[in-house]
């Protein structure tokens, strides 16, 4: 038993970190302007480095590693507020590889774009019907959707699309309706627990987002002075930062634990993945809010990055069902003791 990364995993984390620090510092989002993000340019490079198929079998063109390595990378993506298209690519590559689609190698290489379809009303993926939010789907050829029964790949053209303004202005958001489209590929949950894998990856993004918000608040509390002292020396601020640290410790410890339970196929893996999504998105939401408060007025502006963490947390919460839905699901599961 060991929740810390081993040498090989540390090497992976270091490589992702190095890449993101150089290519995707959080202030890229400010430089980019008000809407959208420049992250699509990262996919071919991440693909080249082999990060887009971390959890996919070698025989299918992936790196043949487990959900543990995937969550380690996704935690870093979360910290850097990387576009959620990274989740779309990872899940789409999984469905495409399992189905042997021609698109699979391109998705793994990051040369084909994929977006997410997140349910906003009733849907039937096999029948290709339902109402969705399309996230980061502008310019994407493929769109991946999942529910408790399985995951499906559609073409962008399969949807009737209506543009809307996104709360998280860093991502493109549209409404999409499917009315009887045949999925390009369908992966049943009986063959691959892709819904729990998605929960884990979202939990890891959320844990990283919560950590990013914590770090931003703590850094500011060390340098911003009022009453002749750094504000971090006031307990009201210090304790708020401590709360942020407690939440990130809970979020990451549980996400790491859950990813290992999942990799081992343990009986409690669905329970743990759902718990991880709850604890991590809750941490991201609360840390997002605390970070704004610690910054004072500047935290309320769009000139500082604080609001991005909060808005991203809301997006992650909604992906695959929000806290309320996850709690309902968790309560109906058998005990994991």
């Amino acid at each position: 038993m060991d929740l810390l990364p081993n040498d090989e995993q540390t090497a992976i984390v270091d490589a992702v970190k190095e890449f993101l620090v150089g290519e995707a510092p959080v202030d890229r989002l400010r430089a980019h302007g008000e809407v959208g993000n420049p992250d699509a340019a990262l996919w071919p490079r991440l693909g080249e480095l082999g990060f887009l198929g971390l959890g996919i079998a070698e025989a299918q063109g992936g790196a043949g590693l487990s959900s543990a390595e995937e969550v380690l990378a996704f935690r870093e993506y979360g910290r850097h507020l990387i576009s959620p298209a990274i989740l779309a690519l990872t899940l789409a590559a999984r469905v495409a590889s399992a189905a042997g689609l021609l698109a699979a190698p391109e998705l793994l290489a990051g040369t084909m774009r994929a977006g997410l379809a997140n349910q906003r009303g009733p849907a039937d993926l096999r029948a290709g019907t339902g109402v969705f939010h399309l996230i980061e789907a502008k310019g994407a050829e493929l769109i991946v959707a999942w529910d408790e029964d399985g995951a499906a790949l559609f073409r962008r053209d399969d949807f009737t699309i209506e543009p809307v303004r996104s709360t998280d202005a860093l991502v493109s958001l549209e409404r999409g309706t499917l009315s009887g489209a045949q999925p390009l590929a369908y992966l049943s949950a009986a063959d691959d627990a892709i819904h729990d894998r998605a929960r884990l990856l979202i939990a890891a993004l959320a844990a990283g987002t919560a950590e990013g918000a914590r770090d931003m608040a703590v850094d500011y509390a060390k340098v911003r002075e009022q009453f002749g002292k750094p504000i971090g020396s006031f307990q009201a601020v210090k304790h708020r930062c401590a709360e942020m640290a407690i939440r990130t410790e809970a979020a990451w410890s549980l996400t790491a634990f859950a990813s290992l339970a999942f990799a081992l196929g343990r009986e409690d893996s669905a329970f743990m993945a759902t718990s991880a999504k709850i604890v991590a998105t809750d941490a991201a939401l609360k840390n997002g809010a605390s970070n704004i408060q610690v910054h004072g007025a500047i935290g309320f502006t769009s000139e500082a990055d604080a609001h991005h963490y909060l808005k991203r947390a809301h997006l992650l919460d909604q992906l695959g069902g929000d806290l309320r839905r996850q709690r309902e699901r968790l309560l109906d599961m058998p005990s994991a003791l």
Partner: protein, 386 residues
């Protein structure tokens, strides 16, 4: 990262489970008094005789000399088997014992450690004073050297189970002129030494529930050979003790509470079942959140053990402690909300109200929630001191 246990670890778990299944005492645990002492010591003795005491303690003092992982497994199985809390042995097994292992002399270790494991002695902790709580370093109970003895005068308070204990880990000021943290010594105090006066203190769970005592010391003579570590180095010795509180023994609590939440879910279903599904109810939503939080508490404890195994010594364990205290209080409160108006009754044979009221101590004892947050802010996050 790895959640897999080795084949030997798994065998150890199975053996532990089988032994616990066959041997856990099912008699209800008395809430206080000599009966409580006898009960806890008997159960400790049984564990020793079964070959399960001191899993990670050195073999030469009666322990099993096994890894922290095995210690963790033992505590997990212990809690799953719903073995009794054994709280009277807590200070001995989780503070005094580990401190002696780390800092004690050969004589001290040879005398005390086997007795602790065998369930022969109860220890209590004499750290807090009426004017030294969170600011423990300001303690004033003084000890002057007289020949080969220390002569102690002053008072300690909140000494849990002091009236039932044989020995006390006692912090005294041996150099009044040294800076606050430099003049303190850690001594073993025999509770039968003349000059000690114990005043019982009742706690808020019910009238006459006695949990701790105030101790008055009037020229209490303690042999100098009872000093653990060096004279005036007691602060460092004590800090090494407090660290043990945050280690593997925590997993027992985590699982105990997770079991409690499962019971609460069953009870809530039984009470509210029929009308609408529990998952749509506010109580259901809070129960689900607790389930997730209990899973997180367990994972955080694994993280603490992982760091300890890797030799990473930091203050990160306070993250787990701070989280767990708040979640445990929330669980006890929810248990009351499930029973509704019945929470106004506090019967002897149902401990829901007892434990709800008890839970208020979780964020005070062993470092308050606020002090934990100071430690996290300053030592984990590097924020400036106030």
């Amino acid at each position: 990262m790895d959640l897999d246990f080795t084949a030997e670890d798994r065998q150890f778990r199975e053996d532990a489970r089988a032994w616990l299944m066959a041997n856990v005492t099912r008699e209800p645990r008395p809430h206080e008094g000599r009966e409580l002492r006898e009960y806890d010591l008997a159960w400790q003795r049984k564990q020793y005789e079964g070959g399960w005491a001191g899993v990670s303690w050195p073999v030469e003092y009666g322990g099993l000399g096994l890894s922290l992982t095995r210690q963790l497994i033992w505590f997990e199985e212990y809690a799953r088997a719903e073995a009794p809390d054994n709280h009277l042995c807590f200070v001995g097994l989780n503070h005094a014992g580990p401190t002696l292992i780390a800092k004690g002399s050969e004589e001290q270790k040879a005398y005390h450690l086997p007795r602790l494991l065998k369930g022969e002695t109860v220890w209590c902790q004499g750290f807090s004073e009426p004017n030294a709580g969170s600011d423990l370093g300001s303690l004033r109970t003084k000890a002057e050297i007289d020949g080969d003895h220390l002569v102690v005068n002053g008072s300690k308070i909140w000494t849990s189970h002091g009236h039932l204990a044989d020995f006390q880990e006692l912090l005294v000021r041996t150099d009044p002129d040294a800076p606050k943290h430099k003049g303190i010594s850690w001594v073993i105090c025999d509770m039968t030494t003349p000059g000690m006066d114990l005043r019982p203190i009742n706690i808020m769970t019910a009238p006459h529930h006695q949990h701790f005592v105030q101790v008055f010391y009037d020229d209490v003579r303690i042999p100098l050979s009872n000093v653990v570590g060096d004279l005036n180095d007691g602060w460092k010795v004590a800090m090494s003790t407090l660290g043990f509180e945050r280690g593997t023994a925590q997993i027992k609590d985590q699982i105990r509470y997770a079991v409690l939440v499962e019971r609460m879910i069953e009870e809530a279903r039984a009470r509210f079942g029929g009308n609408s599904p529990l998952s749509k109810d506010e109580i259901g939503s809070r129960l689900a959140q607790l389930r997730a939080d209990m899973a997180a508490a367990r994972a955080m404890t694994y993280m603490v053990v992982s760091r300890a195994q890797a030799g990473i010594q930091g203050s990160e364990a306070s993250l787990m402690r701070a989280m767990v205290g708040e979640v445990q209080q929330r669980a006890r409160r929810l248990a009351l909300d499930i029973i509704g108006p019945d929470a106004l009754e506090n019967p002897e044979d149902d401990d829901r109200v007892f434990y709800y009221l008890r839970s208020y101590s979780i964020t005070i004892a062993a470092g308050t929630a606020e002090v934990q947050r100071n430690i996290i802010g300053e030592r984990v996050l590097g924020l400036p001191r106030g």
